[in-house]
C-alpha cells in the first residue's frame, strides 16, 4: 500500500532532481556571485559596475523596446493566424506544419538566415538593385542605421518565434466548444463579435501562457541580435554573455542575469494579475 502511495513521488523525483541540479542550483549560485564583492563579502559592487557601464542604459532600453514591440505583434499575428486556421476546411494541418517550421530552427541559425538576406551584399540588396530601386549596396545593419537594425531584429524575431504563440493559441482554440459559436450565430453575432465575445475570453488562459512564455524568452533575446547587430544593438543577455566570456567578470555577468530574472518575474506577475483567470472558466 505504502509503495503505491510513494510511486508518484518516486516518478517525479528525477525531474525534480534535474530541475534542482540544473536550474535552482545555478540560480542560487548566480545570486551569490552577483551579490558578493571581490573579497567574498556581501556587496553591491557588481550592480554598481553594471549600472555604470557604457552599454548598460542602451541594453536596458533596447531589451524593453524589443519586448514591447515584438510580443504584441506576435500575439496579434498568432491570433489572426489561429482564427484563419480554424476557419479552414481542408489543409489545416499542412498550414500549421508550415507555419511552425521556424520553431524547429535554432535562433542562431535564424539570425544567420536573416543576415544572409539583409547584409550589404545580401539577397535584399540584390533584389532591390535588380528592380532598379537602389544604385549600390545599402547598409541596413550598421550603427549608422539604428532604426533599420532594430527593425531587422524585430522582423527576424517575429518570423522565428511567432509559431510558439500560434501553437499554444491553436491548442486553446480547439478547446472552445463549437456550440457557443453556433448559439452566437443563431442570435445574429457577426464574425468580429464572435471573436471578441467568445474566442478572446475563453482563450484567456492560453493567451496568458503564451504571453508569459514569449515575454520571458524575449527578455533573454540574444543570438539573433548578436548575429544581426553584433554589439551595435546591446541587449541584456548579450551583455551578460560578454561580461562572462569576454571580460571574464562573473560578478557583473551574474548581476545582469539577476536583473533579467527580476524583470522576467515582474512581467510574469503582471500577466498573472492582469489576465486573471477565474477557476470556473478553467474547464
Amino acid at each position: 500500500m505504502t509503495g503505491e502511495r510513494a510511486l508518484p513521488y518516486l516518478l517525479l523525483a528525477p525531474s525534480l532532481l534535474f530541475l534542482a541540479l540544473l536550474f535552482l542550483w545555478p540560480l542560487a549560485e548566480a545570486f551569490l556571485v552577483a551579490f558578493s564583492g571581490p573579497g567574498g563579502q556581501w556587496s553591491l559592487v557588481n550592480f554598481r559596475e553594471m549600472a555604470e557601464d557604457l552599454n548598460f542604459a542602451d541594453a536596458v532600453r533596447n531589451t524593453l523596446l524589443l519586448v514591447a514591440v515584438v510580443v504584441p505583434i506576435q500575439l496579434a499575428l498568432a491570433l489572426g493566424l489561429g482564427v484563419l486556421l480554424g476557419s479552414l476546411d481542408r489543409g489545416r494541418d499542412g498550414f500549421l506544419y508550415i507555419w511552425t517550421i521556424p520553431l524547429g530552427i535554432s535562433d542562431l541559425a535564424a539570425g544567420i538566415l536573416w543576415l544572409a538576406m539583409l547584409s550589404e551584399r545580401g539577397y535584399l540588396n540584390s533584389l532591390l538593385a535588380a528592380l532598379g530601386l537602389v544604385e549600390g549596396p545599402v547598409l541596413w545593419l550598421s550603427y549608422e542605421t539604428p532604426l533599420a537594425l532594430f527593425l531587422a531584429v524585430v522582423v527576424a524575431e517575429v518570423w522565428r518565434a511567432t509559431a510558439i504563440v500560434l501553437v499554444i493559441l491553436v491548442a486553446g482554440m480547439q478547446l472552445i466548444p463549437k456550440e457557443y459559436y453556433e448559439a452566437a450565430e443563431v442570435f445574429g453575432a457577426g464574425a468580429f463579435q464572435r471573436f471578441r465575445r467568445i474566442t478572446l475570453p475563453l482563450l484567456k488562459p492560453s493567451i496568458q501562457t503564451a504571453l508569459i512564455l514569449r515575454t520571458i524568452l524575449a527578455f533573454e533575446v540574444f543570438a539573433v541580435v548578436v548575429v544581426l547587430g553584433g554589439r551595435d544593438l546591446p541587449v541584456l543577455a548579450g551583455e551578460a554573455f560578454a561580461w562572462q566570456y569576454d571580460y571574464r567578470n562573473a560578478g557583473v555577468a551574474s548581476a545582469y542575469a539577476v536583473l533579467i530574472l527580476t524583470v522576467s518575474l515582474a512581467a510574469t506577475w503582471l500577466y498573472l494579475r492582469l489576465l486573471r483567470v477565474r477557476e470556473e472558466s478553467l474547464a
Binding site: G39, Q41, S142, Y143, D232, D246, Y247, R248
Partner: protein, 432 residues
C-alpha cells in the same frame, strides 16, 4: 553564518564534479589518448588540419579538442580545483594562460631538454615564464596582425606611397580616394564582438602615435591620435563593428583594405591573384606592431606527464612547425628554413610579417602581461574608448579621462608592471 565565498566555492566544486562526470565518460570511451585542449585552431577546417595533417606523424593517440577561451578557462580551473585532471596538453595564447597559471606544471626540465636540439626565439621563451622564474609554457607557434588589400584598391594608392612603408596619413588618403571614386567606404577593421579591434588599438595605433599603451593612455599624443583616427573612420565601412574575421568582407568585396590577424586573413590571402599583404602603417612614434605567441602547457596532476611532454616535443620540432605553417598559417617559433613550395597565401603573409618586423621604424608591442583574469576588462577599456570617441562621437578629453580611471583601477588591482613599449615601472604600470 556561512560567507558567500565559501558557498560559492562549494558550488563551483560540485558543478565541476558534474562536468567531470561528462568528461570522464568521454575519456573512458577514448582509451589512453592524450587530451589536447586548445583555444587555437578552433575553426572546423583548422581543427581537422591539426588532427589529420599536423598530428599525422605522432605515433600516439591524441584527442584534439578546440574550445572557446571562456569555457576552456572554466574547465582548467574546475579540473585544477577538484584535482581530477584529464587534460594532457594545453595549447593557448600567451594572454589566455595567466588566469590559470597556478594550475599549470613547471616546464623548466622540458624546456631545457628541447632547447638542446632546436633553437627557440629567445623572446618567446622568456614570455613563456609569464614574468615568473618558472617556465609555464613552451612556445608553440606565432602569428601577428598585418594589412591585406584587394588588388582593385592598388589603383587608388596615393602617389609616392609604398605599401610596406605606409603611414596612417597615407592610409587615410588611400581610403578617401577609394570612397570618392566608388562611393563606398572600403577600409575595414575587425571591430565586431569576436573581432580583435582591441589588439589594433593596443599594439598598433597607441604605440605608433604615443610610443606606449598604458602610460600614454590619455596623453596629448593620444588625444591627437584619436582625433586623427576619428577622421580616418569617415572612410571606414560602418559594418566594421560587426566584422569578426576580415577575410570574409575581403572575399565578399565589401572591404578592399583591412587589418587583421594573419590567420583571420588567410582565406583571402590564399587567392594570391586577388589580394596583397603588407606591413601595418606607421605613426609619428614608429611602426607599432604586436607579435602573438601561442604556448603549450601541462596541467598539474595530468594523467601521463611523459606522454604530454612527448607531444610537446613533437609539436615544436622544426618539421612539424613547417607543417603547422603550411596547414594553418601559424609561423614557427623555432629556427626553420622556409621551403620554396609554401602555399601562396602563407608566402604573402610571411613576406608582410618580415617587412613589418624588419622595418627600420618597427616598434614591437607585447601582448598585455600580468593582468591575470582582468585581461578581458583591460581590452574592454580600449574598445569602450573607441566606442565612445569614434562611434558615439563623445569629446576626446572627457572620454579619455573616464576610461583612464577604469584603466588605472585595473592596473592597481592587478599590480601589473609596464610591458614594452611602455617604459618599465616599479609596481603597477601607471596611467600618466
Amino acid at each position: 553564518m556561512i560567507s558567500a565565498h565559501v558557498l560559492r566555492r562549494t558550488g563551483t566544486v560540485c558543478l565541476a564534479a558534474a562536468t567531470f562526470l561528462g568528461a570522464a565518460v568521454v575519456a573512458a570511451s577514448a582509451g589512453a589518448e592524450i587530451l589536447f585542449m586548445s583555444t587555437q585552431l578552433r575553426p572546423i577546417e583548422e581543427a581537422q588540419k591539426m588532427r589529420e595533417e599536423i598530428l599525422r606523424n605522432f605515433p600516439e593517440a591524441v584527442e584534439f579538442v578546440p574550445e572557446d577561451t571562456g569555457p576552456f578557462l572554466n574547465r582548467i580551473e574546475a579540473e585544477g580545483e577538484t584535482g581530477k585532471v584529464t587534460v594532457g596538453v594545453i595549447g593557448a595564447l600567451h594572454g589566455d594562460l595567466p588566469p590559470v597559471a597556478r594550475y599549470l606544471d613547471g616546464l623548466d626540465d622540458l624546456m631545457a631538454k628541447l632547447s638542446a636540439d632546436r633553437r627557440f626565439v629567445p623572446t618567446f621563451v622568456e614570455l613563456g615564464k609569464l614574468g615568473t622564474e618558472r617556465q609555464v609554457y613552451v612556445p608553440w607557434m606565432q602569428a601577428t596582425y598585418i594589412m591585406a588589400a584587394s588588388k582593385e584598391a592598388l589603383d587608388y594608392l596615393p602617389a609616392g606611397a609604398e605599401l610596406d612603408r605606409l603611414t596612417y596619413g597615407q592610409l587615410k588618403e588611400w581610403a578617401k580616394a577609394i570612397a570618392e571614386a566608388t562611393g563606398e567606404r572600403k577600409l575595414g577593421f575587425p571591430a565586431g564582438p569576436k573581432g580583435l579591434m582591441h589588439r589594433f588599438l593596443q599594439g598598433y595605433l597607441y604605440p605608433s602615435y604615443t610610443g606606449g599603451v598604458v602610460r600614454t593612455f590619455k596623453s596629448a599624443e593620444a588625444e591627437a591620435m584619436w582625433a586623427e583616427f576619428r577622421d580616418l573612420w569617415r572612410y571606414v565601412n560602418p559594418r566594421s563593428t560587426s566584422y569578426d574575421f576580415m577575410q570574409e568582407p575581403l572575399l565578399a568585396g565589401e572591404v578592399w583594405i583591412a587589418f587583421d590577424h594573419t590567420a583571420r586573413l588567410m582565406n583571402a590571402l590564399r587567392e594570391s591573384d586577388r589580394f596583397v599583404a603588407f606591413a601595418a602603417p606607421a605613426g609619428p612614434e614608429g611602426r607599432g606592431f604586436m607579435p602573438v605567441v601561442a604556448g603549450l602547457a601541462i596541467p598539474e596532476g595530468t594523467p601521463d606527464r611523459e606522454a604530454s611532454a612527448r607531444l610537446i616535443d613533437y609539436l615544436t620540432r622544426p618539421e612539424t612547425q613547417l607543417v603547422t605553417l603550411r596547414e594553418v598559417g601559424f609561423y614557427p617559433i623555432v629556427e626553420a628554413e622556409l621551403p620554396e613550395d609554401l602555399p601562396a597565401g602563407v608566402r604573402l603573409a610571411a613576406a608582410a610579417i618580415g617587412a613589418q618586423a624588419g622595418a627600420p621604424d618597427a616598434l614591437p608591442s607585447l601582448l598585455p602581461v600580468g593582468l591575470g583574469g582582468k585581461g578581458g576588462e583591460f581590452n574592454k577599456v580600449y574598445r569602450d574608448t573607441f566606442q565612445r570617441i569614434v562611434i558615439r562621437g563623445e569629446g576626446i578629453e572627457e572620454a579619455l579621462a573616464v576610461q583612464a580611471g577604469k584603466l588605472a583601477r585595473i592596473m592597481t588591482e592587478t599590480g601589473a608592471p609596464c610591458w614594452a613599449p611602455d617604459a618599465p615601472s616599479e609596481g603597477a604600470c601607471p596611467v600618466e
